[in-house]
Amino acid sequence: MSETVLRLEGVHKSFGETAVLQGIDLTVSSHEVVALIGASGSGKSTLLRTINLLERLDDGQIWLRDVDITDPQIKHDAVRARIGVVFQSFNLFPHLSVLDNVTLASRHVLGVDRGAAEARGRELLSRIGLADQAKSFPDRLSGGQQQRAAIVRAIATNPELLLLDEITSALDPELVTEVLDLVRELKADGTTIIMATHEMAFARDVADRVVFLDRGIIVEEGPPSQVFGSPREARTREFLGRFTAG
């Protein structure tokens, strides 16, 4: 039986007058891959950022395992170190080599010594075929290579949860596959993943559960076959209809 990794209850967040999240309840089990779908501005990215404490909640609670991470006395950096994040625009550090990007958190957050961190970093890089680029700087890599390096940077510290925020949206179409293949591998390894995505075919193929967000609430969730095959809600049908038509 799989255990609960993450639990959200009644999560609210507004930016000024705009209510972005209006009461989100969500539970994610270990080894589960959850796809967040929804139009731009539906709150997917904000939800991921609140989970990683990069945004402060207006209300509600979030538990990572059995720790309430919305408790103001919790150490934010320690929570963030347990959660990996990959961004739409890669956000690799341009002044560091690929290997230094990958080993930065191990060395300076977990305190792993340089030799061990680099051994693990090189192993991860060779897994994604970038071993001979370890000493290159990020601007020498293609977009797909940069994003794969960013994923490896996020998993180098063995996080309990991986958040992927529209990681293929900034890539040329021919580079999307190599990034998605890596996500597939991570799923096979048993990584717990929450991903915001516009790649419906991929969500259908890889996700264990699909969550449809609209205007800051979860309208519908369920296995991909149900959400994509026979959506219950009119808003879901309308959203998916726009995708297949477009």
Partner: protein
């Protein structure tokens, strides 16, 4: 990978024609530039030597004998300027990075530090350097007991330079820190790095690269401002030139000291220009505008 060796290809006759035209245009503009420069310099020279007092000015400002006579003393003073510059640069770098970092701290706890740092940069960017020199140079020794050994005026001058220049340079660093895209900070924090480690490992290294040309420019400005420590009585190049001038009744030693400062600054000025041009070239790959 397919290789594209650009040099192996023979250019077409159209391209060869274009190159010939560009070469002719280039030769023409260089010629025009040379002729106009020579003509301008000649006219300026003629005007100068035909002014009624030129002969006297030439004797009192550009006398080779006085220059050779004064050079050893002025050079000794100049070495003091170099030492002051060396320590001032280190002091400015350390203090300004600290001030800039303090000014970017968030949270109410750091309000007093932020306020002190902001007040410091406001005050010392507003105060003329010469006044800072007087206040530090004569004020700090005033705090000493009468019998104490006096702090050398070169040291006090260095302190005044560091105080004034750190106020400017810290603003340059702050601009650099703020020019690093927020997504970099976000990525670093998402890995679990603390605010301090994010600054040290991610933000500052990128900020320094962004502001290097501006920093080099401030360094050039400081190279000549080290000459102002002479007002405190330190026998630097300027003070040595003043003494020589008073002995020879001739202003040539000032010109000698000025030339030494220019020679010191030239390599740095060229280096700054070269580095700035290189940065621009890298950012505008393929552009012709």
């Amino acid at each position: 990978m397919t290789s594209h060796d650009a040099s192996a290809r023979q250019p077409s006759s159209i391209e060869l024609g274009r190159r010939a035209v560009r070469r002719r245009q280039n030769t023409k503009s260089v010629l025009v530039a040379i002729i106009s420069t020579v003509a301008f310099a000649f006219i300026a020279w003629l005007t100068l030597i035909n002014t009624p007092g030129w002969a006297v000015v030439q004797r009192t400002f550009f006398s080779p004998e006085v220059a050779i006579e004064a050079l050893p003393r002025v050079w000794d003073g100049f070495l003091l300027n170099l030492r002051v510059l060396f320590f001032a640069v280190i002091g400015v770098l350390v203090l300004s990075i600290v001030i800039a970092t303090v000014r970017t701290l968030r949270g109410p706890v750091f309000f007093p530090l932020r306020a002190i740092a902001a007040g410091y940069t406001d005050l010392f960017r507003g105060l003329p350097l010469i006044i800072v020199l007087y206040l530090v140079g004569f004020g700090i020794p005033g705090l000493q007991a009468p019998g104490d050994e006096r702090i050398p005026s070169a040291v006090l001058g260095t302190v005044a330079l560091v105080l004034t220049y750190s106020a400017y340079v810290s603003e340059v660093f702050r601009a650099g820190i703020e020019a690093v895209h927020p997504s970099q900070r976000l990525a670093a924090r998402s890995l679990g790095l603390s605010h301090g480690k994010t600054m040290r490992l991610v933000v500052l290294p990128q900020a320094v690269r962004k502001v290097t040309p501006a920093l080099m420019n401030d360094f050039v400005a400081m190279q000549k401002d080290v000459g102002l420590i002479s007002v405190l009585g330190a026998v630097d190049a300027v003070r040595a030139a003043q003494i020589e001038t008073a002995q020879a009744f001739n202003f040539t030693p000032y010109v000698v000291a000025g030339l030494l400062f220019v020679l010191l600054a030239l390599p740095m000025i060229r280096l700054t220009d070269w580095y700035t041009a290189r940065l621009r070239a890298r950012e505008q790959i393929g552009g012709i505008v």
